[in-house]
Amino acid sequence: MNDDRTQPILEAVDLHKTYRMGSVDVPVLRGSSISVSAGEWVAILGSSGSGKSTLLHLLGGLDTPDPGRGDIRFDGRPIAKLRRGDRNRYRNRDVGFVFQFYHLLPELTVLENTLLPGLVGSRIRADRDRARTLLGSFGLDHRLNHRPRELSGGERQRVAIARALLNRPRILLADEPTGNLDQETGREILELLKREHESGLTIVMVTHDRQIADLTDRTVVLNRGQVE
């Protein structure tokens, strides 16, 4: 296990990301680099607008860095250069996303939302037992057939985490998972993440709260598009 921790599972080098707003180029990331070892829990700390979400999206294969300016490797494989189908597969299998605003599908039940990555992935018969176990361990057994709107914020975020973990990703990318919750509920969510981390999950978590960052193994600070 100790060997694994030193081995980077996800590594980003000299990432540049520029958004175009009309005729003006807005550089958001200017040469950010980050390396995450397997089993690590890394916090990315930064003020609002510093590019934390942008960095996370690049790491998760949702977006690509400016062409030729930066390299992201997952297990040594270059993510940004993947073919579309393989990038979809990467998002489906290798990483799990958790967002600040939960982002559950309102028409689906808790169980169906959790199963979704399984249904989208190659398995025709999604792993219902896995979904039930996850939801059960997050204290949601009695909510399986409820709609997201019938749940509290904390419960919704727990469903979102269960969904992210369904396909047993190697790494969880969480973008301010407690940002929309009160302190008490936020702490419960962090407890939950801590438990998952302790059972081996690699987590990259974005936050702008230093106290929350302090709960993690390591904190990197994003400032003006660069990791300090």
């Binding site: 073919r83 189908g85 393989d86 998002r91 996303f97 600040q100 982002h103 989208v120 992935g121 025709i124």
Partner: protein, 641 residues
């Protein structure tokens, strides 16, 4: 181990599309709107096309039943030795029966109006043998009167009672009656003018004059009557008090084209302008039964043509009307009259005649055979018209051969190719003139209503556009957990497919229900029942009250919806009340469309094509929003709540 080759749509065969489509359908109102739109479009097209097809079928059927399957025609001059030809045809294994007839045009003097100036009418004269025609066509079923209509019964009875009285009147008495009767203005006429008038007026008119004179000036009149006539008139007056039941012979007379052994006329129902169809499709005889045609006689005039094609002196026959027929085709019913074949042959000089020696008119040197201008042939069941036509053509050539040997010196029948007017046609070819326009009309309607598909596609597009807009975030979520772009496209295409299929099925059901009940719906519009108006009024009131209650709920949408609902329902209610008051609207006026019922059979093949069209256009409508969905940038979609 071989790795599965990664494909861009590695997820497109999975079940989440179905899950999402079914959830999107069941948990939202907008897709129901799309389904309703598709269903309405499909129902509309199905109803229109079914009614048009039904209409076309009715026209074709009536065309066929009027003509038989195959028609041999040689107008004006006619085919000699036609009975031999019929024998030849009836011996065919394909043919069931054949009937001869002669056709010409003429002028019919109608019995109306009152007085001496009767209206003449251009008619097509069919000289037929009713019994034989009935074997080839549905002639017997087209006969209008199987009984004397109730309205006309008193008149027919009067006709019968006064018949002997009228016959007993001499010229002087007739003039005297017309001078006394106020019905005709005879003050300024001299006696011979009055006598002319007396010659023109019909028996039913005489009855009116006689009854007036009997009731109002019996004394002045009595002096000029013989004792026999007085007895007759007293008997007539007494008989009026106590009318015996009528003997109904009318249908039989229509088939035999004769009354009491006298040849008669069977006229198309619209030949007499006194006949009217009411909005129910029933015939109303003018004058409350007074103008029932079989009470009268008609004078039929035609111009015969000699063997060299020149015209001869006009021939006129005065024949009683014995019945009327209603074929189902207005163009036929307004112009055709049937008379017995022999009478028509006589009038057209197509009857059998002896050829006499020019030097010695008492010496018969040959026979000029009777001729028929048309032979109508009916095929056996299951024989196609075209097959029957070629058999008939063969029979015709063997008929030519047999005539050549049997009657070497008699007149020869027309020969195909040499006599271009000789035609052997199927009923469809013969009736192309009136089937064609209806077919074109149906094609036009179908084309016009196909625009509905475009509307359908546009509606689905607009609705799906809104759905995709609303679902942008969900699309981002799906992409973030690995859904491919083709996978996203497929969700919305599947959604469009399902909306199209469900809409088409509902449309079929709706179209079916409307088509089957189209006559009921039509009647409802023509005569809205009281419950409809009051029911609508009650519903309007309920919605209005609910709206007023919602005013206090603090929400605006229910109030707006309520006001709109009240408005629309109120409008409908008012409309129904207005319809009630004004006697309803008749869209399918049988007097115009001829058929008394709107065709109400569904055209299933057309319906299936319509449904397929709706599904395809739903997919077309869904394709553009689906493509837009695929282009959604997941990062932007996920950034904000």
């Amino acid at each position: 181990m071989m790795g599965q080759p990664p494909t861009p749509s590695y997820d497109s065969r999975h079940v989440y599309h179905l899950l999402l489509t079914s959830r999107y359908l069941t948990s939202r109102i907008i897709p129901l709107l799309a389904i309703a739109a598709v269903a309405l479009c499909v129902a509309l097209v199905i109803v229109v096309v079914s009614v048009m097809t039904g209409f076309l079928d009715m026209v074709r059927d009536s065309g066929r039943t009027l003509m038989g399957d195959v028609v041999i025609s040689y107008p004006i001059n006619g085919i000699p030795w036609y009975e031999d030809l019929i024998k030849e045809i009836e011996a065919l294994p394909d043919a069931q029966a054949a009937a001869p007839m002669v056709e010409t045009i003429g002028v019919l003097r109608m019995p109306y109006p009152r007085g001496s100036a009767k209206e003449p009418k251009m008619v097509q004269i069919w000289g037929i043998d009713g019994e034989r025609l009935a074997k080839v066509t549905t002639y017997e079923e087209t006969l209008m009167w199987s009984n004397i209509p109730e309205q006309a019964k008193p008149y027919v009875e009067l006709d019968r009672i006064y018949q002997p009285v009228i016959e007993s009147l001499d010229r002087g008495q007739r003039i005297e009656i017309l001078r006394i009767s106020p019905w005709e203005n005879t003050d300024s006429m001299n006696d011979s003018q009055v006598a002319d008038l007396a010659g023109a007026i019909t028996n039913p008119e005489w009855i009116e004059h006689i009854r007036y004179v009997l009731v109002n000036s019996p004394e002045t009149f009595r002096g000029s009557l013989s004792s026999d006539q007085i007895v007759l008139m007293q008997a007539a007056l007494a008989a009026e008090e106590d009318m015996p039941p009528l003997q109904d012979q009318v249908l039989r007379d229509g088939v035999t084209l004769a009354r009491n052994g006298q040849p008669g006329i069977v006229a198309g129902i619209h030949v007499s302008d006194a006949n009217r169809r009411d909005s129910e499709g029933d015939y109303q005889v003018g004058g409350g039964g007074h103008w029932w045609l079989p009470r009268y006689e008609g004078a039929l005039t035609t111009i015969p043509v000699d063997a060299s094609g020149g015209t001869l002196e006009p021939e006129t026959e005065i024949l009683p009307f014995v019945n009327e027929f209603s074929s189902g085709v207005y163009a036929v019913d307004e112009i055709r009259v049937m008379i017995p074949l022999e009478v028509a042959q006589r009038m057209m000089h197509l009857d059998q005649a002896e050829i006499v020696d020019e030097m010695d008119p008492t010496k018969v040197i040959g026979i000029e055979p009777a001729r028929a201008t048309m032979i109508l042939v009916k095929g056996k069941d299951g024989v196609s018209e075209t097959d029957l036509r070629s058999s008939v053509e063969k029979a015709y050539s063997s008929f030519l051969d047999s005539v050549a040997t049997a009657h070497p010196n008699g007149p020869a029948p027309p020969v195909p190719g040499i006599n271009p007017s000789l035609q052997i046609l199927t009923w469809e070819q013969q009736n192309a003139g009136f089937i064609g326009p209806v077919e074109k009309e149906r094609a036009l309607m179908r084309t016009l209503f196909s625009i509905v598909y475009v509307v359908c596609a546009a509606l689905v597009l607009a609705i799906f556009w809104a759905i995709v807009y609303e679902k942008t975030r969900d699309i981002g979520i799906l992409r973030s957990i690995g859904a491919s772009r083709p996978g996203i496209v497929w969700i919305f295409l599947l959604y469009g497919l399902v909306v199209g299929v469900i809409g088409a099925l509902f449309g079929l059901a709706l179209g079916w229900i409307i088509t089957i009940n189209v006559n009921g719906i039509h009647d409802l519009l023509a005569q809205p029942p009281g419950w409809l108006a009051w029911g609508l009024a009650a519903l309007t009131a309920v919605v209005l009250i609910a709206t007023i209650i919602k005013l206090f709920s603090g929400r605006i949408l229910p109030v707006v919806l309520g006001i709109m609902g009240t408005g629309i329902l109120g409008l409908f209610t008012a409309l129904v009340f207005i319809l009630d008051a004004s006697g309803g609207v008749v869209i399918w006026d049988p007097a115009v469309y001829y058929f008394s019922e709107v065709p109400n059979t569904i055209d299933l093949p057309e319906a299936l094509i319509t449904m397929a069209g709706a599904v395809i256009f739903s997919l077309v409508g869904a394709a553009i929003p689906a493509a837009r969905a695929a282009d959604v940038d997941p990062v932007k979609a996920l950034r904000y709540e």
